[in-house]
């Protein structure tokens, strides 16, 4: 029996599933006792599962995240929620110095199976400190797993897999996707290592690679390009760390052209990783054209509406950039 969900409700379903089935799971973060902080993704969890499992907190991102790491070493499966990735900059030590390195430093005798849910919450003239998606940073750190769901099913299934993983996982969802709809199969648990890059549309002339909201742009642009008889293959990355580029390389060997869309900045961003991991794995003459990266403009997020409109890539800017690069 399929159920209708949107991306937001799929996240809620994942929480409910986890809380129903795993007493070790608890959720902690800012805004969890408020109905409007994190969209509909955690609605009524506190009344359903109790305020001792759904824990709202002081404004102390650093200690709250560290608490999650410590609890995870003891058998709890904590999910630490940061309503904005921007706020997590206070919690970087616990994530990068402690959680990511703990297994290695202790000779793999103990694993911080914490899930950190960082929400990308941008646009709406909120500006530089309320917009960031630092997924490239976390992709850079060995020891972290970084998942970014694009599809409704992934939004649900990845959260479950993240919570059940013994490794520290950054699960990053994007509020711009919350209304995406789909019909989902009943929940079946998947291992976190199953969420490899995936072809979500087949094509012949060009591969466009994205993750999270960028995959939506890739798909949207590809449908437009299709009308002009340009056949585009679209790949959704899903897992940025550890990153497996096999599928991308195969696809590009076929299409011989590729573009990457990424919701971060360009310099040393994940779009650079995608590009590099492809070009270093095939002889140059297997490509018909130089690759293209489409990213945020090289500035902090502006607040003023007209600047916001050019700061974030959108379907038409993507099409424009692709046509320009590939002379299509």
């Amino acid at each position: 029996m399929k159920t209708k969900e949107n991306y937001g409700s799929a996240i809620l379903s994942a929480f409910e599933y986890l809380l129903d089935n795993y007493p070790e799971v608890f959720v902690i973060g800012q805004g969890l006792w408020s109905p409007w902080y994190v969209g509909n993704t955690m609605k009524d969890l506190d009344s359903k599962f109790g305020k001792d499992r759904i824990i709202d907190t002081p404004v102390s991102e650093s200690a709250v995240t560290g608490l999650g790491v410590g609890a995870s070493l003891c058998g709890s499966k904590p999910i630490v929620v940061h309503p904005r990735i921007d706020f997590m900059l206070y919690a970087i030590d616990s994530i990068v110095n402690q959680a990511a390195k703990w297994s290695h430093m202790t000779g793999a005798q103990s694993h911080p199976g914490i899930t950190i849910r960082g929400i990308i919450n941008r646009g709406g003239e909120q500006g530089a400190q309320h917009s960031q998606s630092l997924h490239s940073w976390f992709a850079h750190i060995p020891g972290l797993r970084v998942l970014m769901p694009y599809s409704v099913a992934d939004a649900r299934d990845m959260l479950i897999a993240a919570a059940l993983s013994k490794d520290p996982v950054m699960y990053i969802d994007d509020r711009w996707l919350y209304d995406t709809k789909d019909e989902l199969d009943p929940i079946s648990e998947k291992s976190i290592s199953e969420f490899k890059p995936k072809i979500i549309k087949y094509g012949e002339d060009l591969t466009i690679i994205g993750s999270s909201f960028s995959t939506k742009l890739a798909l949207g642009a590809s449908l437009e390009l299709e009308k002009e008889r340009i056949s585009v293959e679209v790949i959704d990355i899903r897992t940025l760390n550890p990153f497996d580029s096999k599928l991308l390389i195969e696809s590009v060997k076929k299409t011989k052209r590729f573009a990457v869309i990424d919701g971060g900045w360009k310099n040393s961003g994940f779009s650079a990783e995608v590009t590099s991991s492809i070009v270093e794995s095939m002889e140059p003459n297997q490509l018909l054209s130089k690759p293209l990266r489409i990213t945020l403009a090289n500035s902090p997020a502006p607040t003023s509406k007209p600047l916001e409109d050019i700061y974030f890539p959108n379907i038409s800017s993507v099409i424009r950039d692709i046509k320009a690069n590939f002379f299509l």
Binding site: W36, D56, P58, S62, A297, I310
Partner: protein, 349 residues
């Protein structure tokens, strides 16, 4: 210590301190200016509330309606060479240093003529030449900056101070605790002003901290501190004057906590009674009776310093200003597209 505890008990009970202020002993012009400034801030924010509700304003606005006594009472002890920092709820702070409606409105609308040239909106305000160095929405983000600005003031041989307006939520960020110690040990003449409105977004302070006053953190760091009725502008002014002057003269930090309350919800125009945890309609109504502007204006009526009609005229005059400033701001241009990239660095390349 016990005096403070008793005072706190009364301060967090909204049924207390509703009486009009005793204005005796103050110059009429001082009272008049104070009332004028508070009313300016109030009406400007009411305008923002309604324009935000209407949809003219695209980004969030965090309103300090009900809290004006803190900004105004403090700023009367400041000068334009001081270095003031705020946070997400800082319209009152910037206006208390320079009540330029047009620049505020233009900024909130993202216009080139705004306080931050349209690059910041409501949550990123700056007006350096009037002493307002900047506000940003990362909770506590500017607090160590204020310590540094104060340190610079001292290093340069001035007697200016650095000041950080923070909330009862911000105090929970570790960097604020570090900043208290740092300001003490250097020392740096930093004024920490806590507007304790008993809430951090939806969460009552009693759900976040073991006590409802934050002065204890100043105590722990041996920083001079005091707890005041944050809805009594005269008390805020008088009491903070002593501490701020000490900071100026000695180059040491101080800490001023005022208990207050916001009339609106955490963000935008809704009163949001039902989404605040431990925030009841009844409380809000009681708190409206402790309104800082009402307490001052009625005090002034009773002392016959101004008449109700005078005050109505003030309101009308300010409202006129607001309307014309708004209309001007609406017509102003947005930053041109090149500004997205040219304002990132100081253009040395």
């Amino acid at each position: 210590m016990n005096d403070k505890a008793d005072l706190l008990t009364r301060l967090i009970n909204p049924k207390e301190f509703q009486e009009p202020l005793d204005v005796s002993g103050y110059e009429s012009s001082f009272l008049y200016e104070t009332l004028y400034l508070m009313t300016q801030i109030r009406l400007a924010e009411e305008k923002l509330a309604s324009e935000r509700e209407f949809g003219t304003i695209g980004g969030p606005v965090h309103l300090s309606v009900g809290q004006e006594a803190m900004a105004v009472g403090i700023s009367k002890n400041l000068n334009k060479k001081d270095r003031v920092f705020g946070a997400h709820r800082s319209h009152s702070h910037i206006l208390s240093m320079n009540p330029d409606f047009h620049k505020l409105f233009a900024e909130v609308l993202g216009k080139e003529t705004g306080f931050s040239r349209g690059m910041g909106g409501s949550m990123h305000l700056t007006d350096k030449k009037n002493g307002f160095y900047g506000s940003v929405p990362i909770v506590s983000g500017t607090v160590p900056l204020a310590v540094g600005a104060a340190f610079d003031a001292r290093r340069s041989g001035t007697n200016n101070i650095g000041l950080a307006f923070i909330g009862d939520g911000a105090i929970e960020e570790g960097v604020v605790q570090e900043s208290l110690n740092l300001a003490k040990i250097l020392p740096s003449p930093t004024v920490f002003v806590v507007e304790n409105n008993l809430f951090a977004s939806h969460m009552n302070i009693s759900l976040r901290q073991p006590m409802r006053s934050t002065c204890r953190f100043a105590e722990a760091n041996k920083v001079e501190n005091l707890l005041v009725d944050g809805n009594n502008v005269l008390e805020v002014y008088e009491k903070s004057k002593v501490l701020i002057n000490n900071s100026r003269n000695d180059g040491t930090p101080c800490f001023i906590e005022g208990v207050t309350f916001r009339h609106y919800g955490h963000v935008d125009w809704r009163k949001d009674v039902d989404v605040g945890v431990d925030r009841s309609q009844e409380d809000i109504e009681e708190w409206m009776k402790r309104d800082p502007i009402q307490r001052l204006s009625i005090g002034m009526f009773e002392a016959a310093i101004i008449s109700k009609q005078d005050y109505q005229n003030i309101n009308d005059e300010i409202s006129q200003d607001i309307i014309s400033s708004w209309e001007k701001a609406i017509k102003d241009p947005y930053p041109t597209e090149d500004k997205l990239l040219t304002r990132v660095y100081c253009n040395e390349d």
